[in-house]
């Protein structure tokens, strides 16, 4: 079970992404962070903390649950429903640049669902995508604006992002596939 990112590396990567956000947007004035449940949420909170340290400004941060927008919902005639969790976006997204945060970018279907969900909250000026790991194998025309690590994988492998807030430790591991 090879560890491809440890706690230090995850910390440095997020710090770098925070600086990239400030550089690219020339500050944090009309920005807001929205984490995709589950692990995008603590990542968004950490980025908000870094942005506060860098610029002295608070960036509004929310949590988005995309379950009700999944394109595989109701595809199976019989099967348990994925669990729905609460979306919490307590600010207007109208005319803001939204930084959408997720842990792993894979097929792009979660991001597609997240974009649809966000649009139901208003009309943002722009949406930028931040991911900790891009493992490839896109099935939709979606590309991240900020990537923590590009990680070429095979379809048989699985990528697990573990975070302190949820899993008790920070690491990214790759499981399975041919040795």
């Amino acid at each position: 079970m090879p560890v491809v990112m440890d706690a230090d590396r995850i910390g440095r990567t997020l710090a770098r992404i925070a600086h990239e956000i400030v550089e690219r947007n020339k500050g944090v004035d009309d920005l807001a962070l929205v984490g995709v449940r589950t692990r995008g949420v603590p990542l968004a909170r950490r980025l908000a903390r870094s942005l506060q340290e860098i610029t002295g400004h608070d960036v509004p941060t929310g949590a988005l649950d995309i379950t009700l927008y999944r394109d595989d919902l109701m595809r199976h005639a019989v099967g348990p429903q994925p669990q729905v969790r609460r979306t919490e976006i307590q600010f207007s997204i109208d005319s803001r640049k939204i930084l959408l945060v997720d842990d792993v970018l894979y097929t792009g279907r979660t991001t597609r669902a997240a974009l649809d969900a966000l649009i139901d909250f208003g009309r943002p000026k722009a949406i930028q995508l931040i991911v900790l790991v891009d493992r490839g194998h896109r099935e939709l025309p979606i590309k991240a604006d900020y990537v923590g690590k590009n990680l070429p994988t095979s379809l048989e492998e699985s990528v697990q992002v573990r975070l302190l807030e949820i899993d008790g430790q920070d690491e990214v591991v790759v499981d399975g596939g041919a040795a």
Partner: protein, 325 residues
Amino acid sequence: MTTASEIDKKPAVTALRHKDLLGIADLSAEEIALVLDTAEAMKEVGTRPIKKVPALRGKTVVNLFYEPSTRTRTSFEIAEKRLSADTLNIAIGTSSVVKGETLADTALNLEAMSPDMIVLRHSSSGACHFLSRICQSAIINAGDGMHEHPTQALLDAFTIRERKKQLKGLKVTIIGDLLHSRVLRSNIQLLTKMGAEVWVCGPPTLIPTDIRRFGVQVTSKVDDAIVDADVIMLLRIQLERMEGAYFPSLREYFRVFGMTEERLRLARPEVMIMHPGPMNRGVEIASEVADGPYSVILDQVANGVAVRMAVLYLLAGGAEHEDAA
């Protein structure tokens, strides 16, 4: 803001075991918690500028109501529309039922048009169980006779949990027509399963003889029932179901059992006053109490939509095990 531990709290179960929601009797405590947790997420959808999610796109839901209903039917319809389901309302007055068609024939004919779910309100206890045996569609009980009204009990539980954080250990007092009430039967099963201490109170003529088997305290002394209550739920005096003389007059009922501000002082300071509606003001509840600061009666109505969205969503995927076979 939620904490990280809340974000990832894993539910004990992630699906309902049955294809239908016929009554609280069929639900475990874990399944009830799942419905309530899901309803919390659904409630947020109702606060958005666009109150609609695509989850049930392409699903058809038939609302088949054999009894009058304002709240429940409207609530189901709003819930269905917020989930993007296609809905169909059958008003019995203008349907073939007036020509003598039986419930089974009506249901089988509706089912021939392949709906995914049927929401049924019927005056006969057990009508939903009957339909569940002959229909492939998921059946949701919206009230059957004097038997059960599960979504009402779920929305009551949701409303209590919203204020009191948990149901366990609360003293919940239910006062009114215990004999004819399906809301009571669903509520006492749900509340006892979730660990609440349930008291029921009403005129001796309106107390069913076997009520104690549900594990509740029974009394006709209203003060005993109210003292230290965390929640007081009032039930409607169902004049339309009363063929006999159960008590001398409505005025006397109000004098002995009616919820007044004075009586309310016996309860706990943060008591919640609930009523499933429609209310008879001046019979089971005084207007000052119904409109007073402890009343959560309109919260119940608002929460009904979220809870019904949760039930529709959880049943739309089909059953987890048993009925799949």
